[in-house]
């Protein structure tokens, strides 16, 4: 009956699309095909689930222990080697320098490889050399960075230390940086700001994808660890938030495939705003059974109460905002959900009668609006979460509803999971240099994250705290 060609399950575009690797033009075209092809949509959803699972499993794989003391020395030796670029125009240093100054082609093994013990000697010498170099280098750090160019002439079995070096001005630095950034990151040019506050009167219903690939966090971590802050457009807040495990309990009632964990407290970066955390946890499967489908055609809607909520914004999910009408009709991204599936989404919410977001001028009159605003005493309902799904076997639509009332909690009163997730969001906003970051600084973000350091069995959260410190040192405030 089909008047169009079905997408073959072997078509690699399904995975390319699911992983967000598709170029915008192709993506738009492919989405049209998907709209007509329910089977393909289901496969995309499954791939997204598998991708998530893969990311989590591979993150759990231990890294080899690095203990060789020679390497510790090498690290020290490498520090001044930051400037191992040969003198300008002078590439006639050691064979190593010559071999590598041309990007792309990497030189054949040099002499030291055949005599590994040379390496240790060189490490030691270079380390000593660094000690001297560092002392010389320190006082000249400001305002113009004076560089020391250091070379290890391996053929002579010892280091040659060259003082002085050339100077490079701030703007030149910036220029080289941005040009390399161009090379490094042509991959994501489709960034559009989609994180503005949405008035509830315009759009009372919001939705988010329940399948989130956590790969972006690994990317952010790798970038910061590698000594530079990630490109703003590669920072994906929802992927960062969903990288971390949270202590959501699974549903206890047999007929409910999902439990919702809703919480609201002050947004730490904007205490006048409320922060809503929606945690969804799927029913657990039998031990060992991992791919049991607990529900299909799942989609999630959040309906805000216009009497309490003036406007809201979904944190993260930029670039991938599905068209609202598609989601509401369940046409895109409605997928199968495996046992134990967890997803977390956060909204920053402006209550009726409180200060409006920055993009709208604050009227003095609002002062008199306060009493009619959210009566915190009454624990007003802010929103209702509606999860629509089908049982895996029966094609009957079911809906679970969860309402959230605001008990007026301050951030300090919130749960550890809440605080931690908030810190991840704030960190993402810092890295994006988002206009919504409010009072957040790397220092305050670290404080919030530390407040969430509970049940950190796998050490993910403390690693995150370390990452904030590194980001701060790399500095983009």
């Amino acid at each position: 009956m089909s008047t169009f060609e079905k997408i073959s399950p072997d078509d690699p575009r399904l995975t390319t699309y699911a992983l967000g690797e598709m170029e915008p033009a192709e993506r738009a075209e492919f989405e049209q095909l998907l709209q007509q092809d329910e089977t393909a949509r289901a496969i995309v959803a499954e791939i997204t689930g598998t991708a998530h699972h893969l990311g989590v499993a591979l993150a759990s794989e231990p890294e080899p222990q690095v203990s060789a003391p020679s390497f510790g020395q090498a690290q020290a030796a490498i520090v001044p080697g930051k400037n191992f670029r040969g003198l300008d125009g002078g590439l006639d240093g050691g064979p190593l320098t010559r071999g590598n100054a041309r990007g792309g082609e990497y030189a054949p093994q040099s002499k030291w490889r055949r005599f590994p013990q040379m390496y240790f000697a060189i490490s030691g010498l270079a380390a000593a050399c660094f000690a001297i170099g560092f002392v010389l280098w320190q006082p000249n750090d400001q305002p113009q960075r004076q560089r020391q160019y250091t070379e290890v002439d391996l053929t002579k079995f010892g280091p040659v230390f060259v003082e002085g070096g050339s100077e490079m001005k701030e703007n030149e630095l910036a220029a080289t940086e941005s040009s390399s950034a161009l090379v490094a990151n042509a991959e994501d040019s489709r960034h559009v700001r989609e994180d503005a506050f949405v008035p509830v009167k315009d759009e009372p219903i919001s939705t988010f994808s329940i399948q989130v690939n956590p790969a972006a966090y690994a990317k952010v971590r790798r970038s910061i660890s590698g000594g530079h802050l990630p490109e703003r457009q590669t920072v994906r807040i929802e992927e960062m938030v969903n990288y971390f495990p949270y202590a959501y309990t699974a549903p206890t009632e047999k007929d409910k495939p999902f439990a919702a964990h809703l919480e609201v407290a002050s947004a730490p970066w904007a205490p006048e705003h409320r922060l809503v955390r929606i945690g969804l946890k799927g029913r657990e499967g039998p031990a060992g059974g991992t791919a049991m489908i607990i529900a299909k055609d799942v989609n999630v809607r959040v309906e805000f109460n216009p009497r309490e909520v003036h406007s809201y914004r979904l944190l993260g999910y930029e670039n991938r905002m599905p068209r609202q009408e598609d989601l509401i009709n369940g046409r895109i991204e409605a997928g199968e959900i495996e046992a134990g599936h967890t997803v977390t989404a956060l909204y920053e919410v402006v209550l009726v009668g409180t200060a409006t977001p920055v993009e709208e001028p604050v009227l003095a009159a609002l002062k008199y609006q306060q009493p009619t605003g959210p009566g915190l005493i009454n624990h007003p309902e802010l929103l209702t979460l509606k999860v629509r799904y089908q049982e895996p076997v029966a094609d009957v639509n079911r809906t679970l509803e969860f309402a959230l009332s605001d008990t007026g909690h301050s951030f300090e009163m919130a749960s550890a999971d809440f605080k931690f997730a908030a810190s991840v969001v704030a960190f993402g906003m810092m890295l994006q240099d988002s206009p919504h970051k409010g009072t957040a600084t790397f220092a305050t973000v670290a404080t919030w994250a530390k407040a969430g350091l509970i049940d950190d069995v796998a050490g993910y959260r403390s690693e995150f705290v370390g990452l904030i410190g590194q980001a701060e040192r790399l500095g983009r405030n």
């Binding site: 690095v66 960075r145 000594g227 991992t290 404080t447 790399l474």
Partner: protein, 180 residues
């Protein structure tokens, strides 16, 4: 720890920690990557990784700033190829043996079930053809994009896409079978 503690000394991209940080942070993952390529030969992997970092020292930082990781993986991989070439092995994946280093010892997760499921997934990954394992790890463990993986492995972007799709499809099927 006080709030101000992370506020140590703000430095810039040009701080001397550039290469040092690269070593600290990429050494272990790179070692893991190299060890796999070298079919579990940890000693040789350490040589290759050391070599890679020595080469990093020789790089003009501004040329690789912003893509240090990609650079390291590319160079590391080429060093591995050199090792194989020397030993007369023609291709990187000739032996095709599925070496497994880890799956026995998953990090403690939030629950036993989760750890089991992760171990099961790692086990399945270990049975993929080695070229698929490599791209799967580069994608889902190291977080590289298709384009970056293409540059690291010298495969075309569409080839990378094909390998990842094939691997994910197989893993999805196998995980589903295990679940039954």
């Amino acid at each position: 720890m006080k709030a101000g503690d992370v506020n140590a000394q703000p430095t810039t991209y040009e701080s001397p920690s550039f290469v040092q940080t690269a070593v600290e942070r990429h050494q272990a993952p790179l070692l893991r990557y190299a060890t796999r390529l070298l079919h579990g030969d940890a000693d040789r992997a350490r040589d290759v990784v050391q070599d890679t970092f020595v080469r990093l020292m020789a790089q003009p930082p501004e040329q690789i700033d912003g893509h240090v990781a990609e650079w390291l993986y590319t160079v590391c991989r080429n060093r591995v190829l050199d090792v194989f070439r020397k030993e007369g092995r023609l291709k990187l994946f000739e032996t095709g043996q599925a070496e497994r280093l880890t799956a026995s010892d998953p990090r403690p997760g939030s629950g036993l079930e989760q750890a089991e499921s992760q171990a099961a997934m790692l086990e399945l990954i270990g049975h993929l053809p080695t070229n698929q394992q490599e791209v799967i790890r580069l994608k889902f463990q190291s977080g590289f994009s298709y384009k970056e993986i293409s540059r690291i492995t010298s495969l075309s972007v569409s080839n990378v896409g094909f390998l990842i799709h094939t691997a994910v499809t197989r893993l999805r099927r196998e995980m589903a079978e295990q679940g039954d």
